[in-house]
Amino acid sequence: MTTEARPSKTDAARPRRPLHDWLANVDRRVIFIAVAVATALPLIFPLNLPIKTSREARAYYDEIERLQPGDEMIFVFDYEPDLMAELDPMSIATLRHAFRKDIQVIALTDYPGGPGIAERILGEVAAEYGKTHGTDYVFLGYNPDYSATMLRMGESIQATFPTDHYHTPSSELPLLQEADRYAEVELLATVTGSALAEYWVIFAGGSYGQRIIAGNTAIQAVLIYPYFQTGQLSGFLGGLKGAAEYEKLIGTEGAGLRGMDAQSMAHLLIVCFIILGNIGFVLQRRYQRRLEREQDGGAKREQGDGVKR
C-alpha cells in the first residue's frame, strides 16, 4: 500500500513574491506591531529629543504669567476620557502654573464625561499646592448646552450655575462673590479636542471681549490658527507637543515631555511606511507598464506573422 507523498510547503511551486508587491502590500499586522514597538521603546528608554518652544505656546504661557496673585481665571475641561492622554498634561500644567501664581480658578466642563476628569485633576493639583475648594478654586461641574452656558456666563456665573458640582449654592462660594461675569475674570482657558475653543472665541470673546487661551488636540489645533493670527485667541497649545513645550516653560516634567519621544518615533514610523508604500507603488506601476508593453509587442509580432503567412 503506497501513500501519496504530501507536498511540503517548500516544495510547492509558489511564485516568488516580487519586491514591489511586498513593499506595496505590507500586512497590517506587521504595521500594528511596528507601531506598538516604536511607541513603547522610547517610553522605556527615553531619547530626550530637544523641544523648541513655539510662539503659540509662549503666548499661552505669557497670558497666565502676566496675571497677578488673586486674579481670577476660568478653566474649562472640555473633553472626555478618550482624549485624556493628549489633553490631561495641558490641564495639569495649566493648573500648576495658575496655583503656583496664587491665581483663583473657576473650573467647569461642557461635557457630561468631564466632571470625573476635572475632579481628579483639580483634587491632585490643588493638594500639591495646598489650595482649598471654595476660596482658592471652585468646580462648578457640567451644565447642559454649551452655547447658552457660554453666553449666560457673560451675564452671571451664579445664575448659570446656581450650585457648584457638590451642590453648594453659588451664593455661598466666596470666589464667585468676587467674579460673577466675564468682565470680572481676567482670563479664560479651555482645553478641548473639539470645536469648543472656536465657540468660546465666538461667544465669550466676540460677545463679551473675554481674553481666551486654548489647549487643543493636534488635529483641532490646525483649525484655530486663524483665531490666533487675528488675536481673538491669545495663545494656544497644539497636541502633546504643545503640552511638552508648556511643561518646559513652567519647569515641570509631566506626561507631555515624557510622551514626546514616543510620539516622534510613531510619526517617523508612519512616514517610513508611507515612503515604503510609495516606492512599492512606483515599482509596481513600472512593472505593470513593462508587462503591458511586452504583451502589446507579442500581440503585434503574432499579427505580423499572420500577415506574412
Binding site: L49, S54, L83, G113, G116, A148, G238, M265, I270
Partner: protein, 204 residues
C-alpha cells in the same frame, strides 16, 4: 395657527436675541437671559429623551432577540446600573466615580488609542502619489507630521511645517469660515423671517 404660531414665536425670539447686541435696555437684557435659561432647560430635556430613546431601542432589540442582542443587554445593564448608583450614592461618592475611573475612562482611552494603529495602517495604504495633487498632499502631510514632533526640530523641518500651517492652511480655513459664516447669517435671517421652515417638520 399650527404653522403661523411657531413662525411668529421664532421671529419674536430671534429679533429679541438680535436686539440684545444693539441696545443697553435692561428689559431686553432680562428677556435675553430668560431665553438662555430656557434653552438650557430644553437641552436638559433632550438629554433625558436621548436616554429614553437609547433604552427603548435596545430593549426592543432584546425582546426580539435581534442580531447582537447580547450587546444590548450590556448597554441596558450599564445604563441602569450607572443611573441607579448615581441616584443612590450621588455621583461624587460610592461606585459611580469608581466605575468612571476604572471602567469608562480606560475603555474610552483604549478605543481612542487604537486609532494610532489604524491611522498608521490607513496612511500607509491611502497616501499614494497617484498624481500631482496627491503628491502635494502627501508631501505637506509628511512635513507637518514630522514638524509637529521633536524629531522635526532636530532635522530642521519645523519651520516649513509652521509655514504650511500659518499660510496655506490658514488661508483655506479662513475661506471656509467666511463661507460658513455667510451661510449661517443667511439661514438665521431666513428662519427669523419665516422663509426657512424645515425646523417645523414635513409639510411646513
Amino acid at each position: 395657527m399650527k404653522k403661523t404660531g411657531p413662525v411668529v414665536f421664532g421671529f419674536l425670539i430671534g429679533v429679541l436675541m438680535l436686539l440684545h447686541h444693539f441696545t443697553p435696555s435692561s428689559w431686553i437684557g432680562d428677556r435675553y437671559n430668560n431665553v438662555l435659561d430656557w434653552k438650557q432647560v430644553v437641552f436638559g430635556i433632550t438629554l433625558i429623551l436621548g436616554v429614553i430613546s437609547l433604552f427603548t431601542y435596545h430593549w426592543k432589540k432584546i425582546e426580539r432577540r435581534a442580531e447582537g442582542w447580547g450587546y444590548s443587554v450590556i448597554t441596558v445593564a450599564g445604563l441602569i446600573f450607572m443611573i441607579a448608583v448615581a441616584l443612590i450614592f450621588t455621583p461624587e461618592r460610592g461606585p459611580y466615580p469608581w466605575m468612571f475611573d476604572h471602567v469608562q475612562a480606560p475603555m474610552q482611552a483604549t478605543m481612542f488609542a487604537l486609532l494610532a494603529f489604524y491611522v498608521a495602517s490607513a496612511s500607509y495604504r491611502a497616501f499614494r502619489a497617484r498624481n500631482f495633487h496627491a503628491a502635494l498632499l502627501l508631501t505637506a502631510g509628511v512635513i507637518v507630521m514630522l514638524g509637529r514632533v521633536s524629531l522635526g526640530e532636530l532635522i530642521g523641518i519645523d519651520s516649513v511645517s509652521t509655514w504650511i500651517l500659518d499660510f496655506p492652511n490658514t488661508a483655506a480655513k479662513r475661506g471656509v469660515m467666511i463661507g460658513v459664516g455667510l451661510g449661517m447669517t443667511a439661514t438665521a435671517i431666513k428662519i427669523i423671517t419665516g422663509i426657512e421652515r424645515t425646523y417645523l417638520g414635513k409639510g411646513a
